[in-house]
Symmetry: C2
Subunit: 164 residues, 2 copies
């Protein structure tokens, strides 16, 4: 989706993405920015909940790699909503940013577990791993990278994260 | 720079970036999109010329890694100009896209030389390497990643690209 197309998304479409009715939308979200913030925060919260489920995974290495792959595969919609929100005036109350920070912390916990299990090299830290997640997500969303190239890109990153 | 700030950049600022006077700008570029396209194409052309100089480098491994690092370090401005161009109506004649394709081809040639020299694993291809370049560039530009984190992010990618 181009930015122009996203910015022009109707409130009806946004309501559908949020899983609520249009009347509810107008009652609860006085501005488009309020609405888009709620949609984005909900997506981040769902991903965080999914990451937290994986804290108890029997094999933390594949759990981390699988979750990273899942986030990147889902990135295009999230980035499009984020850009529409920026165009609509931004996340004034910081609600989406808070939800994104919760996701980041959960990813940090998955990373530590994978490092403790010896599946990810011990000398990497969350800031660069999160930057790789943001970067590969944005690359995948940019010009709709096809699945095969996206997977080959991720393999290079996972090889770079593997113990030497 | 936020997107709003970029989109609001004055023609004077753009003229300064392009290295030309304001009178020349209004004479040669009837629309803001024309002007931004020329600025962006010029940046891609310069990077391509720099890559082509490196074709004859004595050591193709460090030449490839150094150029990749240089492109990522310079990414924030390029991405901001690209977003302002999108907001101004886009690259209608495809001039910036052509220049970007020229840069991509030059990077492909640097990659092949580095692979022939045994410095980069032989089983990676340009699409995923270019996706990694786009991704790490966007991650670096996003929220102004600090230099140390950017370098640690790139080290993971270069380790992933090293022969196994």
């Amino acid at each position: 989706m181009t930015r122009a197309a996203t910015a022009a998304a109707s409130t009806e479409e946004v309501a559908r993405l949020a899983g609520v009715g249009i009347a509810t939308v107008f009652r609860h979200f006085p501005t488009k920015a309020n609405l888009l913030t709620a949609v984005l925060a909900r997506r981040f919260d769902r991903l965080r909940a999914r990451a937290e489920e994986l804290f108890e995974a029997a094999d933390p290495g594949p759990a981390f790699v699988g979750f990273f792959t899942e986030v990147v595969a889902d990135a295009a919609t999230k980035i499009a909503i984020g850009e529409a929100l920026l165009d609509a005036g931004g996340d004034e109350e910081g609600e989406a940013e808070q939800a994104a920070n919760g996701l980041r912390r959960a990813i940090g916990a998955l990373l530590r577990r994978a490092q403790e299990a010896g599946a990810i090299r011990s000398d990497v830290e969350l800031p660069e791993v999160y930057a790789l997640l943001v970067g590969t997500s944005r690359a995948a969303a940019h010009k709709h990278l096809d699945d095969e190239v996206r997977n080959r890109m991720l393999e290079v990153v996972f090889d770079g994260l593997a113990p030497r």
